[in-house]
């Protein structure tokens, strides 16, 4: 066996490592190098400018504006998505209570899960295009609904109004993520022994109390994972913004990823764009570490 080990290792590891190194590791690493240049992309000429890009970045109000939107997303997206998913998952999995003090899933919970999860199948471009149409001021579903119930005054140019565009985007991000976490939390709830819920029900704990005192602590590991993933999505958020608003109107939905893309591929300032990327890299890294730290708690072992 021993002599056969290295041919296999070489054959099995070299091709994936080569592709991974060439297309993933080296671009990430090069971002750091390019960030220290004034490269404009068209010519191969560039100068090393050290930390100049970062100094400029510090005073770039557009970058700060974009970052502020990422921070808002970071605060709101995980909280809203997790709260809504936990609520729906609770209703589905332990919401139905028989008259006998037993706890069970609500009737038809399987169908609900299938429907809720469906947006997870769709690409970000389908979601973006679909919701752009829903928000359409003339033929959109949303304004159509408002007019149908006589609330014509509330109809808006949702994506064209700086006051609403960001919130409209946030709603889409929550909408597209909730179903996934309903299923994720649902699976975790299935692992909680039924007797715990039944005991709580017998002791007279209401639904809210059961959710906050039993479900949340028992699901903490899963919630933590959800938090980290949603935080990463919030720091990114580029794809949906690029499709729906391109950061507009009047930069009211700009995010750091969109800045990076516009600066690099729109204005051909590849050095400066990469500097934005480097900042984003460290922000994402620290937020992930922070999210893991802050949410760390004693793990509850289920026997």
């Amino acid at each position: 066996m021993r002599h056969g080990k290295y041919p296999l290792l070489l054959a099995f590891l070299l091709p994936p490592l080569a592709i991974y190194g060439y297309f993933v590791v080296s671009p990430y690493a090069q971002t750091f190098l390019v960030a220290a240049t004034d490269w404009q992309g068209l010519s191969p000429d560039y100068n090393f400018v050290g930390l100049d890009n970062f100094k400029r970045l510090w005073h770039d109000e557009y970058v700060w504006n974009a970052l502020l939107h990422n921070v808002w997303l970071l605060l709101l997206l995980p909280v809203l998505t997790i709260a809504l998913s936990l609520f729906l998952a609770t209703m589905l999995n332990v919401g139905g209570r028989g008259g006998r003090g037993t706890v069970r899933g609500v009737r038809g919970s399987g169908i609900y899960k299938v429907v809720y999860f469906a947006p997870q199948m769709l690409s970000v471009s389908i979601i973006g295009v679909l919701w752009t149409q829903i928000y359409d001021p003339r033929g959109g579903l949303l304004n159509g609904l408002l007019r149908a119930v006589g609330l014509d005054g509330l109809a808006q140019v949702w994506l064209g109004d700086p006051n609403f565009a960001f919130w409209a985007l946030l709603a889409v991000m929550v909408w597209s993520n909730v179903g996934f976490y309903v299923v994720l939390f649902g699976a975790a709830m299935q692992a909680v022994p039924r007797d715990i819920y039944e005991a709580a029900a017998l002791d007279g704990a209401g639904r809210t109390r059961t959710l906050l005192r039993i479900t949340v602590p028992l699901l903490w590991d899963t919630i933590q994972v959800a938090w980290v993933y949603l935080a990463i999505i919030a720091m990114d958020g580029f794809a949906i913004v690029q499709i729906m608003t391109r950061g507009g109107p009047d930069f009211s939905t700009d995010v750091v990823g969109e800045r990076l893309y516009d600066t690099s591929f729109g204005e051909s300032k590849f050095g400066y764009g990469s500097a934005i990327g480097v900042v984003m890299f460290f922000l994402t890294l620290s937020i992930t570490v922070l999210a893991l730290r802050v949410t760390r708690r004693e793990r509850i072992e289920l026997s």
């Binding site: 994936p16 060439y22 297309f23 429907v115 389908i126 295009v129 993933y229 590849f270 990469s274």
Partner: protein
Amino acid sequence: MSEAVSTASTRPATRARTRVGRGALVDGTLNVFSHGFLVLWALMTALPLLWAALSAFKSDDEILSDPWGLPSELRWSNFSRAWTHGHIGLYFLNTGIVLLGSLTLTMLLGATAAYALARYEFRGNRLIYFAFVGGMMFPVVLAFVPLFFVVRNAGLLDSLPGLMLVYTAYSLPFTVFFLTAFFRTLPTAVSEAALIDGCGPFRLFFRVMLPMAKPGLISVGIFNFLGHWNQYLLPVVLLKNDDKYVLAQGLAALAVSEGYRGDYSRLFAGLTLAMLPVLVVYAVFQRQVQAGLTAGQMK
């Protein structure tokens, strides 16, 4: 009610009885309330999708004047216009070609790498593992600028094989991570028996270990299929020629151009066509899909 209390509870019966009794009353109204929420969210999820499908049959006029109305007739021609003039058919073909290559390559390279990392001890094993897994942490947008030039220098810009390689590279972290964990759980007794019977290490992998890893391969295969099918950002950077566009990218481009032309019916038809395959796959394999997608997040 009293039966449940007396059998299930060891607590003072009176206390439990009053509490449970009150709880049941409140539950009656709460059930309506909670069902209401569940139905509301189901509507909020399903209505937009149904609306898009219905709008695909409408005329532009109907779409603009009556968003909640039904189409006056089934205009199938919207779909054929989207398929040909909207190039949705071409985008489907491109996506299919890319997927054929990228999925095969991802599964092959991911499984071999994961197997080597899971079942062999050698110097640098951990290092390679973490190099792969670390790739899951960062948004792909960070690598955009250099990636564009790396691909251009390799002469692979605007080429479907280039996109296959890039998809594969960016799918390896999760695939290796997931399959390494999976290969570790497989029993060693089987492979030892095969080796004693004179089976070579390569044969062992392809004839014994791969078939044993089938459930894991299916999960990660579904995950990668959806990821590659829905990929939007990588093609946006790497494909500039609209003959080469993949579906997700082509649809977004169509939305921009139809916005100027005002041809909404064609856009909705394209949107519906683009949604259909994944939703059909989902309807057929929903259990595996849900399991495959959520399993990855739990490790």
